[in-house]
């Protein structure tokens, strides 16, 4: 706990120093960060932004302008986030806000980005709604950038990774979809239903469960009864519970898909190692050289903050960099110019090449998914470590079977 207090103090002192230093230089670029300090995914966001800002400032800033970061804790509440956004814009005069990994929060902030004409980038919320809203009412919502993959793209990523690894290596032929019953998983599940068969996996069962489920026994039993070779998940509110119970009940089926909590580095400890063998898709993993920037970032981050970044940390770090580029390109932090510049982003960051879909595409302002652009990594928890299995060019290990899983006999 003293660590934590110390860190806060440090951050505060740094912030003040930066503030004093930059007062003499040219007008600073002020970036507001609104995130969830108490959750692992959210806590990385301000840290990653601060890290990127420090690096940029150390190299002389953006055209001599220093980046100044102001952070706000939204306590996972949309109401708190809106208040923080108002404060950031009208009181602290930030020029851009990087905010949250929770879709509810980002959707609540969107009208405010439009109203206060301040660009907003989310480094971790997945809902399709975000970019669809931009598409539907571009004139109003163009201020919002979906600096992460949509649910739709995430499903595509899962299918792609499954097709190339699991169908091949595990000889899997069928799959069961297991998602929490929430708005963000609706498009995800729809995309799963569409792309899994294309990848050669027949969908034999589709379970949606209440997000406040505690006991997963009925769900696993139901899935087992359908005899799939694979469980494809779409979970974020839950993660620890289904994983631990999957392991405790020795469910003999491998699990892959989107598991928000599994991407975090503390997942092993939180599940007491129950996550051994769990597969998951993530935008990046520590020690996986997606680009030449990935490993240096992970290492610096871990050294400075005492733990690996969450997925939102990677996205937030990159968001800071492409924002800086956009400011440079636009030559201004004036919102409309900045948006124009952001739309033209083509930046290779820690997670791959980042470009945004245009105004005429369904997922306007969302990061483009695809080979050569941004893709994802299929990771697996093996003895306390996240090992990359796919894509082959960045893999750091080979797939192992989870303890209770026997390979499909051909």
């Amino acid at each position: 706990m003293f660590d934590k207090v110390g860190r806060i103090l440090c951050a505060a002192v740094t912030a003040t120093l930066v503030l004093n230093a930059s007062a003499q230089a040219a007008d600073p670029i002020k970036i507001g960060v609104i995130a969830e300090a108490q959750s692992v995914a959210g806590a990385s966001i301000p840290q990653a932004v601060q890290l990127a800002a420090d690096e940029i400032n150390a190299k002389g800033g953006v055209d001599g302008r220093m980046i100044q970061v102001v952070t706000y804790d939204d306590k996972s509440s949309a109401a708190d986030a809106v208040r923080a956004f108002q404060r950031a814009v009208s009181e602290d005069k930030v020029q851009l806000v990087i905010a949250s990994y929770i879709s509810e929060v980002v959707l609540a902030l969107m009208p405010w980005a439009a109203r206060l004409k301040t660009p907003l980038i989310t480094p971790g919320a997945a809902s399709n709604e975000i970019s669809v809203n931009v598409h539907k009412d571009y004139a109003r919502n163009k201020y919002t950038f979906h600096g992460y993959l949509t649910s739709h793209a995430l499903a595509q990523a899962v299918c792609d990774s499954a097709k190339e690894t699991l169908v091949g290596l595990l000889k899997a032929k069928s799959a069961a979809i297991m998602s929490e019953d929430a708005a963000w998983t609706r498009p995800l599940d729809a995309a799963y239903e569409e792309c899994l068969p294309k990848a050669g996996l027949k969908v034999v069962e589709h379970v949606r469960f209440s997000p406040d489920t505690g006991d997963f026994t009925p769900i696993y039993n139901k899935i087992e009864a359908a005899k799939p070779d694979l469980i494809v998940t779409g979970i974020a509110h839950v993660g620890v519970q289904p994983t631990v119970q999957w392991q405790n009940q020795q469910v003999p089926i491998a699990m892959t898909g989107i598991s928000g909590q599994a991407t975090s580095s503390t997942f092993w400890a939180n599940t007491n190692g129950g996550t051994q063998g769990v597969l998951f898709d993530s935008v990046a993993l520590p020690d996986v050289a997606l680009t030449e920037k990935t490993i240096p970032f992970t290492q610096t981050f871990t050294k400075r903050f005492g733990g690996a970044p969450s997925y939102a940390g990677y996205m937030a770090y990159d968001a800071t960099y492409y924002t800086a580029e956009a400011v440079k390109w636009a030559g201004s932090t004036e919102a409309d110019k900045l948006i124009e510049a952001l739309e033209k982003t083509d930046y290779t960051g820690t997670v791959g090449r980042i470009t945004f879909y245009g105004k005429d595409e369904t997922f306007t302002h969302s990061i483009q998914y695809g080979p050569g652009l941004m893709t994802s990594v299929l990771g697996q928890w093996q003895s306390g470590k996240q090992v990359a299995i796919w894509p082959a060019n960045v893999a750091t290990g080979k797939i192992v079977l989870p303890p209770a899983v026997k390979p499909a006999v051909q």
Binding site: D181, F209, S210, G214, D215, T217, V240, Q241, N248, N272
Partner: protein
């Protein structure tokens, strides 16, 4: 087959619900207090057990013990710092003690929840189970830990039952829950009885919390739902009736499990909530409650 599965799966979860609710109803029975920081105390116990074993390297047994002790201490602090001052306060009219205790324990629960989230993040955690592996039973595969959970719950419930019904000191508690004035006239100080009951409550909540942490996992977000579920079960069973809570826990547990199997896991809790509303309309005193 599915019937057996429901039977087996519902058993452990219901036992856990019962254990969680039992202390809650005991407190109400003896002192008329509805402790809305109940969920927070359970989470405290679970997180303490998790932290002790996963973070500070105590063994899983020592961790579990530390968790239970934390539950006990938490309950006693709740009594002395929140409940007793409100009960003693002269500034609060007697008719309004109830709402003040409800609000006070609610706030106290939020404080505990925030502290847990602050020091250990709001990510869910699971306590390392004391027993691992699975057993096959008539074609239904169940983790040993689930049986262990059910077993511990029932052992604790049986011990509580034996204590209250057989031991002389326990009988006094039982008597106090029926008629506090009666035990006062027999020479027992209610003040001491309250402390004893809160201590027993703390132990029960602690054990239930640690088991919950092993079986299903907890996070600071579990605080509200845990309180609500204990509250529902206790009211359903009849406030203050320990046996009623036991029955209600099984009704709710099986209703949820059966819904998850037979309808959809997405609607898991809805029938139980509807049942609760229906019971409140038709038999407000609950299954075994008296008015």
């Amino acid at each position: 087959m599915i019937g057996l599965q429901i039977l087996v799966d519902g058993f452990a979860i219901s036992a856990l619900y019962a254990l969680g609710a039992m202390g809650f109803t005991l407190i109400f029975g003896v002192s008329g207090v509805l402790n809305l920081s109940h969920g927070a105390l359970m989470v405290t116990a679970a997180v303490a057990a998790w932290a002790a074993s996963a973070q500070y390297g105590f063994g899983s047994y020592a961790g579990a013990a530390i968790g239970v002790v934390c539950g006990l201490l938490g309950a006693l602090v709740t009594y002395f710092a929140v409940v007793a001052p409100i009960e003693r306060s002269k500034a609060i009219p007697r008719a309004e003690k109830e709402i003040f205790i409800l609000t006070g324990t609610l706030l106290w629960g939020i404080m505990i929840q925030q502290l847990v989230a602050y020091f250990y993040t709001d990510n869910p955690k699971t306590v390392l189970p004391l027993i691992e592996g699975v057993v096959e039973f008539a074609g239904v595969r169940t983790p040993r830990n689930e049986w262990f959970t059910a077993l511990v719950c029932w052992v604790v419930i049986a011990l509580l039952w034996a204590f209250v019904n057989k031991a002389r000191a326990g009988k006094v508690l039982l008597a106090a829950s029926m008629n506090p004035r009666g035990v006062t006239l027999l020479g027992h100080d209610m003040g001491r009885i309250y402390i004893a009951v809160w201590a027993i409550y703390g132990l029960l909540a602690g054990i239930a919390g640690v088991l919950l942490g092993m079986f299903l996992g907890v996070s600071s977000y579990s605080v509200g739902p845990l309180t609500a579920s204990a509250f529902s079960i206790v009211v359903l069973g009849g406030l203050g009736s320990v046996t009623g809570s036991l029955i209600a826990a099984y009704v709710v547990g099986y209703l949820e499990t059966a819904t998850a199997y037979l309808v959809s896991p997405a609607y898991r809790v809805i029938p139980a909530l509807l049942l609760l509303v229906a019971v409140m309309y038709l038999r407000p005193q609950g299954f075994l409650g008296r008015r």
